[in-house]
């Protein structure tokens, strides 16, 4: 038993050796700082921030790039909760649940403990899940070495099915978005034959529709367009923050929710399509169910803050597991992290840990350092983040637009990329109007080319037989799971209909 543990310990030491290099510490600091900032600002989520910064990282070494970008994703979780608690504005979707009890705690004069437990809960969750990541990612990578094209194809189908199932509103709309994303992924030169598809003599489209431009358009520009079509008003609740350290009673009530939120968040975060948002809702519901006073939830109970806050931080580490060990992103943010690794010539997947141990273990160590930085940084800077929220929106939106333009331009120094971004800004705006979600589109756009390659190879191996997906146990189980997920709303609706009829009788 000593062998593997010693190996992990040595690898972890290597990781810390990489992460504490001054340049990497600096990038880690910038990452968590920018992450907190985008978490604070509504309308600029981690995905948009990552796509804005991705082109800048062309000039940065690969380890520093991944440390910087990962810092943004988990830094955003901290920033989002600060504004949820103090001003009832979730900076990003993963902090929506925190508003329910966090803001009520602030109104009851307990903003300090709410912010404190949110920061400490996130830190505890971050620390525990890093150890889970250390043990799980290499194991999963070893298991994934047995995966062939059919397993990869069906795993991606499963990921997209989960994304569709979890989408808000109509499932048909989410499926339409998946198909649209898959079609967009085929634009450009065919990987096998080199035939240009949907290019129409445009040199810009030869390389395909850029992920960065699509994400900036769908998440950044569309949000601005939605906000400027009506007069934007924002009310700031004035409160004094004092006593950030939760008392013993707060700790007694929070430790259970933090533990459960950590486990739930991490394991739900691993599932492709789940993202960091769903685990926060699950954690809140679980805590409410387990509570002796569920009726008090929503009036400012600390369990309603501790659980979801631990869950969103744990989930952001969990999402890294399939990305690092299988090379499969779980959402828009991990898709961009994957893109960053590929830009730097690394091959995300089962072999990454062996081929680039300094990247994997450096990232793991930086997660721990970054979480500690956030804890030390964020509590004293809370006043500053609230001041940033008071910046008038006319300054904020013009700044966001400028960053969007520069971010999409410097990818290839091509003005047509900016036009593509603007087009997707309009598409994103219309999607919001007609209740279509952007996340399934983005995930399908990223997975599309990988899925196409895996499908083509599978069919070549089986000499044209689709039975290859059903006869191999792993791929068959992935497909069955995907089918059950997609058909479950139909089955449940039938059951509900039958129950309603019985009640009617």
């Amino acid at each position: 038993m000593e062998g593997p543990f010693m190996d992990i310990f040595k690898d972890l030491l290597l990781g810390f050796g990489v992460a504490i290099q001054p340049i990497n510490l600096l990038y880690c600091f910038f990452g968590v700082l920018i992450g907190t900032l985008v978490g604070v600002l509504p309308g600029v989520g981690p995905a948009a921030a990552l796509s804005l910064l991705l082109p800048v990282t062309f000039y940065v070494p690969p380890v520093s790039t991944i440390i910087l970008l990962a810092g943004i994703t988990y830094g955003a979780m901290y920033g989002g909760s600060t504004t949820s608690i103090l001003v009832n504005i979730p900076g990003e979707a993963a902090s929506v649940v925190t508003c329910l009890d966090g803001y009520q705690m602030a109104r009851n004069g307990r903003a300090g403990p709410a912010l404190g437990i949110s920061a400490f809960g996130s830190f505890i969750a971050g620390t525990i899940t890093i150890f889970l990541l250390i043990f799980l990612a290499p194991t999963l990578a070893g298991f994934a070495l047995r995966f062939g094209p059919p397993e990869y194809f069906t795993l991606m189908v499963l990921g997209l099915s989960i994304m569709v199932y979890l989408a808000r509103g109509s499932m048909i709309n989410a499926l339409i978005m998946v198909c649209f994303g898959l079609i967009l992924g085929t634009v450009g030169l065919d990987q096998m034959t080199g035939v240009p598809r949907f290019v129409y003599k445009s040199i810009t489209l030869m390389d395909g529709v850029g992920l960065i431009q699509v994400v900036i358009g769908l998440f950044g520009i569309s949000e601005v367009l939605i906000n400027v079509e009506a007069t934007f008003k924002r009310e700031i609740f004035k409160t004094k923050v004092k006593g950030l350290f939760p008392n013993l009673e707060d700790w007694r009530r929070s430790i259970g929710p933090i533990g459960r939120g950590t486990v739930l968040g991490f394991f739900l975060g691993i599932i492709p399509g789940m993202s960091v948002v769903i685990p926060t809702f699950v954690s809140y519901v679980v805590e409410k169910k387990l509570s002796k006073h569920p009726e008090k939830f929503g009036t400012g109970v600390i369990e309603g803050v501790a659980g979801p806050e631990a869950a969103n931080n744990a989930a952001s580490t969990g999402t890294l597991v399939p990305m690092l060990s299988l090379g499969i992103p779980t959402g828009a943010a991990t898709a961009l992290l994957l893109g960053a690794l590929m830009i730097h010539g690394l091959r995300p997947g089962p072999l990454l840990i062996q081929e680039a141990p300094q990247v994997f273990w450096g990232l793991v160590a930086s997660l721990y350092i970054g979480n500690a930085m956030l804890l030390v940084l964020n509590l004293p800077l809370i006043g500053l983040w609230v001041k940033i929220l008071k910046i008038p929106y006319h300054f904020l939106f013009s700044l966001i637009l400028l960053l969007c333009i520069i971010g999409s331009y410097i990818t290839n120094n091509n003005p047509y990329d900016v036009i593509i971004m603007a087009v997707f800004g309009l598409v994103g705006y219309l999607m919001k109007k007609f209740n279509y979600e952007a996340a399934p589109l983005v995930l399908a756009l990223v997975l599309g080319p990988m899925m196409e390659k895996a499908l083509q190879r599978s069919l070549m191996i089986s000499e044209g037989g689709f039975d290859i997906f059903f006869t191999r146990p792993i791929s068959a189980s992935f497909l069955i799971m995907a089918l059950l997920i997609l058909l479950s709303p139909l089955l449940l609706r039938k059951k509900r209909l039958r129950e309603n009829l019985r009640e009617g009788d």
Binding site: A230, Y416, L459
Partner: protein, 151 residues
């Protein structure tokens, strides 16, 4: 609203039809050796079925009035101005250069979209241009065009 949803689903129907026809032109290949059109054709075909299902759904839906009527005017012109100015910025960047372009763009947005005084617009434009230049040109050394005037 019902009619708008109907048009939206009609758009998906014609879009998927277009994708299927185009993908067919790229050659579908054989099932044991799929051609370049195979994958987009499959995606387009599934989209076609989904759009038909959505069309059926939206035709069955009752035309309900959603929520309270809109209190504020719909400022559609802001959307046109923003998208137009982004296009203008993109195409003039290489000729006019980063600094002048950014300053004009910021002033335009601050003056027209959420109208501010000239003083606020100019000061806001200057500060943003200076900060953007510091971050992108000085710190990150990205290669944003300087334009014919050399800055």
């Amino acid at each position: 609203m019902k009619r708008l949803h109907l048009y939206c689903n009609l758009f998906w129907f014609f879009f998927s039809l277009f994708i299927c026809i185009e993908a067919y032109r790229y050659k579908l290949g054989a099932i044991n050796k799929p051609g370049p059109g195979f994958f987009p054709f499959c995606a387009g075909f599934i989209l076609l079925i989904l759009s038909l299902a959505a069309l059926y759904q939206s035709s069955k839906k009752k035309n309900n009035i959603e929520g309270t009527p809109r209190q504020e005017p719909f400022r559609w012109w802001n959307i046109v101005i923003i998208l137009g100015s982004i296009a203008l910025y993109a195409f003039s960047l290489e000729t006019v250069g980063f600094l002048i372009n950014t300053f004009v763009f910021m002033c335009l947005l601050l003056k027209v979209v959420e109208p501010q005084t000239w003083k606020t617009a100019i000061i806001g434009g200057l500060i943003t241009t200076f900060a953007a230049n510091l971050v992108f040109n000085v710190i990150f050394r990205t290669q944003i065009p300087r334009g014919i005037l050399g800055f």
